[in-house]
């Protein structure tokens, strides 16, 4: 029996060591490897946890609902689920898109992405409250968010742009509150398109979830003339300076750039600007290269524009103008906005907003307040108040005159509205690889209107796949008219 005692003791020790190994392995998986396991894409619990979350709602400035979370039945393990609905499809690129399926979570763009922590309620819980909620499995509700958007103006802008591709931004001056932001084509989750999966949405060649207004990078073309004009005015060139052969067409590769509308035989700088004639601005880039470079930088075209809490895109100028060969051809192309410089609509609206704001930058915002779940009072979000001067008020006034002339006598005349003073500039840019002149370009309108309540609304319109500045001006005029009426 002594022999059996020894072997039994050894076997017992071996068994207990094996149990200890199991305990150690368990500790590893439940403590040290837990984060990695829980973050896996094939973890349905993560999706379930997200679906239990009552994500905060979004409202426009007047309290109209833009996004909310509603009940969506029960999960496979019996948990109450929720889903996100967007009752106003025209706002989808502003709100962003949030969806949850067994394939994973998609939080894409807009306010959903920029304010994810707020909408989830993550940023208002103390660590103690978070631990308590996790232990007790308290259903979590996120905070509501109020946008500066005006839903009526948003719908008007979306309707004006339909059926074209492009973008519109409307900004209130001097507050910088974005009243409308449209990107087309977009996605309507409430119709048959609502059956598209997140993967399909992201892979769609039309870039349905892409926000062209703040992420789209475009050739500025004639829209750059406003910046070039600012540079010329800085160098004390006057608007009534006569120009030799202002209507001369400009050849860029195999393409010809013309004025947006016809001009008489002689003209001034103001009229050349009004009709978006490229020749004057091509030579201006050559003669005023340094001032143009300074104007491009001053207007912020080389860095992402500031939009509080959002990641924005910038166009680029890979080489400064003074690093380019000092030839008429090389610099002329830059001056007409067909060169290396690219811009986003948000950058261009910042340009026109500064002009409307008497030369001072306008800090733009899209979200101005949050509200805790169950509360009725909105808590304002602190906004940047800095409005540094970009150009002098004198130059801003001159640019105003030029923009007004472009509406009264130039290519943007269709934007003019009765009982309103509209300022604007319509132009086009060559863009794309196709040879069809009707579609290998895009059209710009930048402008603003003084509204009856004493503020101003500045807008940018860019229409893709068309070389028709009149169309852009027409859309712009419609939106400015709507802005003015809604401001009453």
């Amino acid at each position: 029996m002594m022999g059996m005692t020894r072997s039994t003791n050894r076997l017992t020790a071996g068994v207990l060591i094996a149990f200890l190994a199991v305990a150690v392995s368990l500790t590893y998986w439940s403590v040290f490897a837990a984060d990695g396991l829980l973050g896996r894409a094939d973890n349905p619990r993560a999706v379930e946890f997200e679906q239990m979350l009552r994500r905060g709602a979004m409202y426009d400035r007047a309290g109209k609902l833009l996004a909310q979370t509603v009940d969506a039945g029960r999960s496979a393990s019996g948990k109450q689920l929720a889903r996100r609905v967007y009752p106003e499809p025209s706002t989808l690129t502003v709100t962003g898109y949030y969806s949850l399926t067994q394939g994973g979570k998609l939080v894409h763009g807009g306010v959903e992405e920029a304010f994810d922590a707020t909408l989830r309620g993550d940023d208002t819980l103390t660590p103690g409250e978070r631990i308590g909620d996790d232990l007790l499995h308290t259903p979590r509700a996120g905070n509501d968010v109020r946008l500066t958007l005006d839903l009526s103006l948003q719908n008007a802008a979306a309707g004006a742009l339909r059926p074209y591709s492009g973008a519109i931004i409307a900004v209130d001056i001097p507050t910088g509150a974005i009243r409308a932001m449209v990107s087309a084509p977009s996605y309507d989750p409430n119709t048959g398109e609502g059956n598209l999966s997140a993967a399909q949405l992201l892979a769609d060649p039309s870039a349905l979830l892409f926000n062209r207004a703040i992420q789209g990078v475009y050739q500025p073309g004639g829209a750059l003339e406003t910046v070039v004009l600012s540079a010329l005015l800085t160098d004390r060139v006057t608007l009534d300076s006569p120009l030799p052969i202002p209507t001369a067409p400009l050849q860029i590769g195999k393409f010809i750039l013309d004025c947006a509308t016809a001009l008489p035989g002689t003209a001034t700088l103001q009229l050349a600007y009004a009709d978006a004639c490229p020749a004057a601005f091509a030579s201006a880039a050559y003669d005023h290269r340094d001032s143009l470079q300074a104007a491009i930088e001053a207007f912020g075209l080389l860095k992402p524009p500031s939009l509080a809490h959002f990641k924005t895109q910038t166009g680029s100028l890979p080489l400064p103008l003074n690093a380019l060969p000092a030839t008429h051809d090389e610099l002329g192309v830059q001056g007409v906005g067909q060169g290396l410089l690219t811009v986003t609509p948000l950058q261009m609206v910042a340009v026109v907003a500064a002009i409307a704001n008497h030369g001072n930058a306008v800090p733009m915002t899209l979200v101005d307040a949050t509200r805790a779940p169950g509360m009725t009072t909105w808590q304002p979000i602190s906004q940047p108040a800095d409005q540094p001067a970009i150009i002098s008020s004198t130059i801003a006034s001159s640019l105003r005159l030029a923009l007004r002339a472009a509406v009264t006598d130039g290519a943007a005349h269709i934007a003019d509205q009765p009982d309103m003073t509209v300022y604007g500039h319509a132009s086009y840019a060559l863009s794309g690889l196709g040879s069809d002149p009707r579609t290998n370009g895009l059209s710009w309108f930048i402008g603003f209107v003084d509204t009856p309540n004493g503020s101003t609304t500045a807008i940018v319109v860019v229409v893709e796949n068309t070389r028709n500045p009149t169309l852009a001006a027409q859309i712009g005029g419609t939106v400015l008219y709507a802005a003015s009426r809604m401001a009453k």
Binding site: M1, G3, M4, T5, R6, S7, T8, N9, L11, T12, V15, L16, A18, F19, A21, V22, A23, S25, L26, T27, W29, S30, V31, A33, A34, D35, L37, L38, R40, D42, N43, P44, R45, E48, S75, A76, S77, K79, L135, H137
Partner: protein, 434 residues
């Protein structure tokens, strides 16, 4: 002067335990009952069920009380830890099955009643256990006959998968579980009678001393049972368990490491042949080595099990508040993962502790026995419970390849519960020195 006739105060006897064994067992049963009751009430609260839905708790309490009374009457000198530990585990298991797969719970509760009755029945048989030792070949061939019957007539209650059950109507029974008990009884009896012969009667090859074939023969028969089960039934878990029991008991009886080493070599050879010969083995090893690329296919169960354990962290999500039902067959093979998700690391450590104590108590009983048969029987039961637990717990957490055995007393499975309680009955009988 007269002597003070007042009797001297009794001195405190430090050798006398504070509690008697019966009181100790009652206290432990009470604590187990408290845990099971709180778990059940928490489950009812989470689900919003009426109090009548707690009827399995009443069944459990009835089984605990009647078991304790019956054992106290028949075996007052028994080990006071064994019965409370198994009652804790099976009560926890009932609450788990009700949480994970409520339609299976009434059947498990019924099997609990049958199992307690069987355990009590074992304790009422002659305590010398000579009837178990004497008829070892009856148990062996009876078990083999059941195995053959399963191979010929076996069914699967789910309709698909390995046919490991025999059924009469809607009642299914897994003969491999009974064969487990038969194996232990046979080995305990055979080794008790022949262990010295195994050691002394043999032949020498170099420095190796091997037993005579006539003594090793029956053991090799037992070993081939494992192979048959693996080849014919594709039941990797049971095949591994039988072989491990055989090897362990052989080592306990003889103390010869040669048998362990030789057995492991045979296991390795057999495992390698099985790896290349059987898809199920190859699949299990592949999943064990690297489950991540197949997480949406073959290794879904293991990966979800690990995720569930991670989700439980240290304190668990709480009963009814995790998501263990994402793990396929969680109420049976992966009940340990469900414990990890809803009771956390602490819960799983408690389960490991209980099973470890149970195995240790059994082995301790084995050491204290004068009769080698009773010693080997206790050791065999302890080894079986330990190895079976380690196989399924290790497979659940990817420590070893997954095998389809149940977690003793906790997983859904009537046959398993019944045979485990029969083994516990034998253990309790052995534990009473009178």
């Amino acid at each position: 002067m007269t002597l003070d006739s007042t009797p001297a105060p009794a001195l405190y006897d430090f050798d006398e335990p504070l509690l008697s064994d019966a009181a100790r067992e009652r206290l432990l049963l009470g604590l187990a009952g408290l845990f099971v009751t709180v778990s059940y009430l928490a489950l009812l609260l989470v689900r919003g069920d009426s109090p009548f839905a707690a009827w399995p708790l009443i069944v459990w309490i009835g089984c605990a009380v009647s078991g304790h009374i019956a054992l106290e009457k028949r075996l007052p000198g028994r080990d006071p830890f064994i019965f409370p530990i198994v009652m804790l585990l099976c009560g926890w298991g009932i609450a788990l099955i009700d949480r994970l797969n409520p339609p299976f719970m009434p059947r498990q509760a019924l099997w609990l009643i049958v199992s307690i009755a069987a355990m009590i029945g074992i304790t009422r048989l002659p305590r010398h256990l000579r009837w178990l030792s004497r008829y070892r070949y009856l148990w062996l061939f009876g078990g083999l006959a059941l195995l053959m019957a399963t191979i010929a007539f076996g069914r699967n209650p789910a309709g698909v998968g390995p046919r490991l059950w025999l059924g009469i109507g809607e009642v299914y029974f897994q003969p491999s579980e009974l064969l487990k008990m038969a194996l232990i009884a046979f080995l305990a009896s055979y080794l008790a009678d022949n262990r010295d012969l195994l050691d002394t009667h043999g032949f020498q090859i170099g420095r190796l001393r091997l037993p005579a074939l006539r003594y090793l023969g029956p053991l090799l028969v037992m070993w081939s049972i494992s192979a048959i089960i693996l080849v014919w039934q594709r039941d990797l878990g049971m095949a591994t368990l039988y072989f491990a029991i055989f090897l362990a008991m052989l080592y306990v009886a003889t103390g010869r490491s040669l048998y362990v080493v030789g057995g492991l070599v045979l296991l390795l050879i057999g495992g390698s042949i099985a790896y290349f010969g059987f898809d199920v083995v190859r699949e299990r090893v592949t999943i064990w080595l690297n489950p991540w690329p197949y997480s949406n296919g073959d290794s879904y169960q293991v990966v979800q099990s690990l995720i569930g354990i991670a989700n439980g962290s240290v304190f668990g999500q709480g009963i009814g508040q995790g998501s263990p039902t994402y793990i396929p067959v969680v109420h049976s093979d992966f009940v340990f993962a469900a414990i990890g998700e809803e009771w956390g690391l602490l819960g799983t450590l408690v389960v490991i502790g209980c099973l470890a104590i149970l195995a240790q108590r059994a082995m301790r009983l084995a050491i204290g026995q004068a009769d080698p048969f009773r010693a080997l029987l206790a050791a065999g039961i302890g080894i079986t419970l330990a190895i079976q637990s380690l196989l399924i717990m290790g497979g659940t957490i990817k420590l070893i390849p997954l095998t389809g055995v149940t977690l003793p007393f906790m997983s859904y499975g009537g046959s398993s519960l019944l045979v485990n309680f029969i083994m516990v009955g034998f253990l309790i009988v052995v534990s009473d020195p009178r």
